[in-house]
């Protein structure tokens, strides 16, 4: 098959290759009541071939981060500082023309409502054909059509449905079309922003199965932005937990779920009803997420934290490693590291070992 020949074997996460590095990124919104700090000096690396789950509640900044990567923060918001290193280039230095080339072609985004991304007066096949020909202008229309048929067949959408318009497809099918577009464009990174949230549970499960297969088949790197912890547990390799515009914790999925270090992560995990448990006492986290025009001092979680200490009011904890640091393990960052920003792990916060990530 010519469509996706010679794809290197990315079925394993490449723990050495950072495909996107977010450095010290801040996003602010100008509001009537003052400057709203939606994302505050956030750093996060995305490794080639991984599914990174980005979890948080509404207002945590997780969707803003997804949009910031595409440099699509709507006015009156803007990226006030930071770098977005993608393929050794800082996207922040790109002009609008260069960014247009990145959006969709190199980094694709799938939203909760695919109807907003599909043209209602274009048939499905035209969407895909256009996407293929944007990438490879010398491909003939017939060839592009043949390819889109093969591609959509793989995604479980038959030839007949390709002749239909977006509104004639079900929600699950539209999301498949969105994935098809990203694949046709051979995007390096797919940002899925609550992509399964409007789907019914069985359709959602079908979609997650498909995503998992495609990930290995095409070596996709996926940033999975969601509030649904179950989906993260199912699909993600690593998880980043956001709270009030900052990262609370970053770890591989097993470590995060079975050895969470940040009180927010701990509370969050215990407040989700789990169908696999016989009986369960739900944890009730006090309070609500803060107003980010006047965020709490120090650690932004301190007003809700059951373990709050004096220092939490005063000083912001850095995101530092909280796992054992082995020999020859000194480099900053790293795929397998467990990071948290919490004064409970003060020995790491204060020590010379502590590095900001």
């Amino acid at each position: 098959m010519t469509l996706f020949q010679a794809v290197p074997d990315y079925s394993q996460v490449n723990k050495q290759e950072i495909i996107l590095s977010i450095r010290d990124l801040s996003v602010e919104y100008q509001t009537r009541r003052g400057m709203l700090s939606a994302i505050d000096t956030l750093s996060l690396d995305l490794y080639r071939g991984e599914v990174l789950g980005l979890v948080g509640e509404s207002g945590s900044g997780k969707s803003t981060l997804g949009k910031a990567i595409m440099r699509m923060i709507p006015s009156p918001g803007r990226i006030t500082k930071g770098q977005l290193i993608f393929k050794n280039q800082d996207l922040m230095t790109y002009d609008e023309n260069q960014m247009r080339d990145v959006r969709g072609r190199q980094i694709s985004m799938i939203f909760q409502d695919p109807m907003t991304s599909l043209n209602p007066v274009q048939r499905i096949d035209n969407h895909i054909i256009e996407a293929i020909r944007v990438h490879e202008p010398d491909v003939s229309k017939d060839e592009a059509l043949a390819r889109s048929e093969t591609l959509m067949e793989r995604l479980g959408i038959g030839r007949r449905r390709l002749k239909e318009y977006p509104h004639q497809l079900s929600g699950g099918m539209r999301q498949r079309v969105m994935i098809g577009l990203a694949l046709a464009l051979k995007a390096n990174i797919i940002i899925a922003d609550e992509a399964t949230t409007s789907l019914d549970v069985i359709v959602e499960a079908q979609f997650l199965d498909l995503l998992r297969e495609l990930k290995d088949e095409f070596g996709l790197t996926i940033l999975l932005v969601t509030h649904n912890i179950g989906i993260v547990a199912e699909l993600a390799d690593r998880v980043a937990v956001m709270y009030a515009g900052r990262l609370a914790e970053v770890a591989n999925v097993d470590e995060l779920f079975h050895n969470p270090k940040h009180p927010y992560t701990q509370g969050l995990l215990r407040s989700v009803p789990n169908i696999a448990m016989d009986s369960q006492d739900l944890y009730r986290m006090d309070g609500t997420p803060p107003n980010l025009v006047m965020p709490p001092s120090g650690c932004r979680f301190h007003p809700r934290c059951p373990h709050v200490m004096d220092v939490c009011h005063q000083k912001q904890p850095w995101l530092v490693r909280v796992d054992e640091i082995g020999e020859g393990d000194e480099q900053v960052g790293g795929y397998d590291k467990h990071l948290a920003s919490c004064w409970l792990h003060q020995e790491y916060q204060g020590s010379t070992q502590a590095r900001r990530y």
Partner: protein, 359 residues
């Protein structure tokens, strides 16, 4: 259900063969020419169940299953096309508008979107207590304020008096949903229809609201008809559960029985599809094909047959009845191979949920 369980004395609500069809709007040409057959959406198609006083009865299904329509018919917000709704021995169908209106006091509703449920131009106190005034249950503004403030405290809006004069836009989403719960509660209802009451809330707020609803239910001996698409939530709060598919109940039983021993292949699939917040858990595959079909022309025979992995010819022609599961009191399912005449052909559970735990 009545076949197995003769109506017990503490049944508070009973639906018998309830159907609700909505006419499909014909296009202009058809209207002018007066051609084309009038079509109907079979939103609810022959649903029967009973809710015991003081219990939480869950109605679960995907979008388009008819769960919300069933709920609305059950509390008299919609008139059934056919069938009976009996609330505390009163047949709602026979009531006049005025009588039904009086009855509503005892059947309160909590919807998903609190902002849409509260009048933005009324203070919280006036909005939440509105029903008290409509039904003339208070004699003075003083008493009114007292009653409403008291309820605010019950749902965790403390101090209640301080919330009375605030407006919906001034409080958080979680607090708004508490106010909506208070509005239902202030009427001292016997039955509360809760239609996706926590679906819009954030994860941490969800847990608190769910807990609050459980606590209030116990404190006031309330009966809930709890509608949700989330099976994990249903497991947490419900005593009994009915699974709906395309306007029909395809399985009903005690929550534990249904979850540990599902009989209908659709129930099995639904339960298996729920994402489990634990990466060591592996979801069993495979999922049924396709999506829930259109309710205008539901599939013949068993409505699940086009998606069912164990469908046989009989499933295309014969409509399975909701029948008792042998040896399990109160547990019923509508599947030829699990409860019906073809039970000897049962191929066994579709999805082995036991392998799911260890990954």
């Amino acid at each position: 259900m009545s076949e197995n369980n003769p109506s017990s004395s503490n049944t508070i609500l009973r639906l018998q063969d309830v159907k609700k069809y909505f006419p499909v709007k014909r296009d202009l040409l058809q209207q002018i020419m007066r051609v084309g057959e009038q079509q109907y959406v079979h939103a609810v198609d022959g649903v029967s169940f009973e809710i015991e006083q003081g219990k939480v009865f869950g109605l679960v299904g995907e979008s388009g299953s008819g769960k919300s329509t069933t709920g609305r018919v059950a509390v008299g917000l919609l008139e059934p096309t056919e069938g009976e709704v009996v609330f505390e021995d009163v047949h709602l169908n026979n009531l006049s508008g005025e009588e039904l209106r009086k009855m509503r006091r005892y059947m309160q509703v909590i919807f998903q979107d609190p902002m849409a449920s509260l009048n933005p131009r009324m203070s919280l106190g006036e909005g939440v207590g509105h029903g008290l005034k409509i039904h003339r249950l208070v004699n003075s503004q003083q008493e009114f304020r007292h009653r409403v403030s008291e309820i605010f405290e019950k749902v965790g809006l403390t101090p209640g008096d301080a919330y009375f004069d605030r407006y919906p836009h001034q409080i958080s989403g979680g607090q708004r949903q508490r106010a909506v719960i208070a509005r239902a509660l202030v009427m001292q209802p016997k039955l509360i229809l809760a239609d996706e009451p926590i679906a819009m809330a954030d994860v941490s707020v969800k847990a608190i609201l769910l807990d609050l609803m459980v606590q209030l239910q116990r404190e006031f001996g309330l009966t809930y008809l709890f509608i949700t698409h989330d099976l994990a939530t249903a497991k947490y709060i419900c005593d009994r559960i009915a699974i709906m598919y395309l306007g029909e109940i395809i399985e009903v039983g005690d929550i534990k029985t249904v979850y540990t021993n599902p009989k209908h292949p659709y129930t099995e699939a639904l339960l298996a599809a729920v994402p489990v917040p634990d990466p060591r858990f592996r979801r069993p595959a495979p999922m049924p094909r396709g999506e829930i079909p259109n309710a205008i022309n539901p599939p013949s025979g068993c409505r699940f047959h086009p998606r069912c992995p164990m469908a046989q010819d009989v499933c295309k022609t014969e409509h399975p009845r909701l029948l008792g599961v042998p040896g399990q009191a109160g547990h019923m399912a509508a599947c030829h191979f699990r409860t019906g005449d073809y039970i000897h052909l049962d191929p066994g559970p579709l999805i082995n949920t036991n392998v799911a735990i260890a990954k």
